[in-house]
């Protein structure tokens, strides 16, 4: 069976401004892919292209094996010889998908009528519409609002209506564009709860965009990192967070210690990397003499007042440059021949009586380090 959605070299440009470049995605039924990336990276544009609201400036979109890139143009299709993709084909494909927009637009009618729209467009009969709408309103906890005009709802409520409206048609592909952006924490929790339920219940494919990395990690099975219109890496959440493929991905996913160095020695997998004269022990496939970037997540660094004899292979002595309290956590910047940034709980920071300039030991395991080649 063909993947439900596939793109080949998809690109979009608005008046010469390149928004997306060479997007090659394959989404199978049952997949849950989260696209993460900074604002303006092109996340929404990808969804708009896949949902067939926009037509791309380059590349192709396949829905269930059929090229639906643009309408009313004769396209060659390898399997079907020649296929005329009419607007109707795109409409049919679109009717098997649903899209929850970041800023949901509800129509000036009751909540019930809003949710019923998609079913009416599909010419379902009245009884079915009533049953399905009631069921989905129940699911999103909006049953009591069925007769309210949707325009009078709060942002979180509108978002739930938008989710209900998308789910009611039982889509094979569900797109969610920042479904919880600009919502209060209580609404976010509610919506994530709904999404988690959908994910566990459905066999349809989901594609969600978010700039909240943690959300992608909580919900999705696979994460794609989109930066500047390009998908730089696709993988499981742990691959993305612990083994970023490039500097840009690493920076985006919160790897704050990215240090340039050189592989100085190797013994089987174990390597010694020279960073500014400091030797770090780690594990890498890269050969001796390679220029590399060493990446250490701040959470993986442990700070102690005395030289700790723990299992950590890397222990360095340094002086505190900066202490930045961030509520329950405190960020510590130390200089131990190389700059290191870590976090400890604010409670232990005060127990350890840390002050700027005081001596501190930083330690981290060889396995906590991710090494990539430096160009």
């Amino acid at each position: 069976m063909a993947p439900i959605i596939e793109t080949k070299g998809l690109g979009q440009a608005y008046e010469r401004h390149q928004v997306l470049k060479d997007i090659n995605l394959k989404i199978e039924r049952g997949d849950f892919l989260a696209l993460i990336g900074p604002s303006g990276a092109g996340k929404t544009t990808i969804i708009r292209l896949l949902d067939l609201i926009e037509t791309p400036s380059a590349g192709q979109v396949f829905f269930d094996g059929i090229d639906v890139t643009r309408s009313s143009k004769i396209r060659l299709n390898a399997r079907r010889r020649m296929a005329l993709v009419s607007g109707k084909t795109r409409l049919k494909a679109r009717r098997r998908m649903a899209f929850v927009q970041q800023k949901p637009t509800v129509f000036d009618m009751s909540v019930f009528a809003n949710v019923a729209c998609g079913l009416k467009f599909r010419h379902e009969n009245k009884q079915d519409i009533r049953d399905k709408v009631e069921r989905v309103l129940e699911l999103v906890g909006m049953s009591d609002y069925r007769n309210r005009n949707a325009r009078t709802l709060s942002g979180g409520e509108m978002q739930r209506v938008a989710i209900a409206r998308a789910l009611v048609t039982d889509p094979e592909v569900l797109f969610l564009d920042e479904p919880t952006a600009n919502l209060d924490p209580a609404s976010v929790a509610k919506i994530e709860g709904i999404l988690a339920r959908i994910i566990s219940e459905r066999k349809s494919a989901l594609l969600m965009t978010t700039h909240d990395m943690a959300q992608g990690q909580r919900l999705a099975g696979k994460i794609g990192v989109l930066i500047n219109g390009e998908i730089l890496q696709i993988g499981t959440p742990s691959e993305i967070f612990f083994s970023p493929a490039s500097m840009q991905v690493a920076e985006f996913v919160g790897v704050e210690n990215i240090l340039p160095g050189t592989v100085a020695g190797k013994e089987n997998e174990l390597a010694i990397i020279n960073v500014n004269g400091v030797e770090i022990q780690t594990i890498t496939d890269l050969a001796q003499g390679e220029n590399v970037h060493v990446m250490i997540r701040p959470e993986d660094i442990t700070f102690t007042r005395t030289r700790d004899t723990s299992s950590a292979r890397n222990v360095f002595e340094g002086r505190i440059n900066k202490i930045i309290p961030l509520g329950p956590l405190t960020r510590i910047e130390i200089d131990c021949g190389m700059p290191l940034l870590g976090v400890i709980t604010t409670r232990s920071a005060s127990e350890m009586e840390l002050t700027t300039g005081s001596k501190l030991f930083a330690s981290f395991k060889a396995t906590a380090i991710h090494v990539i080649k430096r160009a």
Binding site: I53, F99, T105, C117, R130
Partner: protein, 240 residues
């Protein structure tokens, strides 16, 4: 002064007793304007959507032509219609000139640009996200247009009411193509100048009062539409 007062009293009498001539003329006016207006609605709602939501070559030009036609003098439309429908004209053999039918056709030509222009501006007042949302929810083109028209309903209603107002109040076209034939093509606006010219002020005044009253009703209707939602359900679709 007393002559005016007498005329006014007689006019009221004609109205209260539902004078057959007054009723007949008023009814014909309403019927002709309503028919042409209804046809315009059927033309302008889909056409307005098509023009507004599609990009095509010459769109700007088309929009400015439509706007220019807003102020098309009624007599100019009358002239064109007469030339087309007169005995020796291209559509002359139909024998429609000086009938109510040709008055309807003329009013359609007259009202369409106004209603179409107002329809387009009504649609440009709604958020682009509306049509995109409808499309993404699986609406066909026509279904999406229906949603957008519904969203712009008050501005659309205004377009219709203004179109009807233009149809019922115009004089030049009706005179030229209808011929002001008594009992056949005489309408409020063609009868008033005639009766005034003849010196039959009471009848002219009675007809004038009817015309003003219709205008008044239109405004009331518009006001009520904007303050009640009753029309909404009637107009597009009922909530199931």
């Amino acid at each position: 002064m007393s002559e005016l007062w007498e005329a006014f009293k007689t006019a009221i009498h004609l109205l209260v007793t539902l004078d057959p001539e007054v009723v007949q003329i008023a009814w014909r006016s309403l019927w002709i304007a309503a028919t042409s207006c209804a046809v315009c609605v059927v033309i302008c709602i889909p056409l307005g959507n098509m023009i507004h939501f599609n990009r095509f070559r010459g769109k700007e030009l088309l929009l400015s032509v439509i706007q220019t036609l807003y102020s098309m003098p009624t007599v100019a439309v009358g002239l064109i219609v007469v030339m087309l429908f007169r005995r020796s004209g291209p559509i002359g053999p139909l024998g429609l000139l000086f009938t109510p039918d040709v008055m309807v056709i003329g009013q359609i030509l007259l009202v369409t640009p106004v209603m179409l222009g107002l329809m387009i501006s009504a649609l440009s007042g709604i958020d682009k996200a509306i049509i995109e949302t409808a499309t993404s929810l699986g609406a066909s083109r026509m279904q999406a247009y229906r949603i957008c028209t519904r969203e712009a309903k008050f501005a659309v209603m205004t377009a219709i009411v203004i179109g009807f107002g233009r149809a019922i109040s115009e004089v030049g076209l009706s005179t030229m193509v209808g011929g002001n034939i008594e009992g056949y093509t005489r309408t409020l606006t063609t009868a008033i100048p005639l009766e005034t010219g003849k010196g039959d002020f009471p009848l002219a005044l009675a007809l004038g009062i009817v015309l003003v009253f219709i205008a008044f009703l239109l405004n009331i209707a518009l006001y009520m539409l904007q303050h009640r939602r009753a029309w909404t359900r009637l107009f597009i679709w009922r909530q199931s």
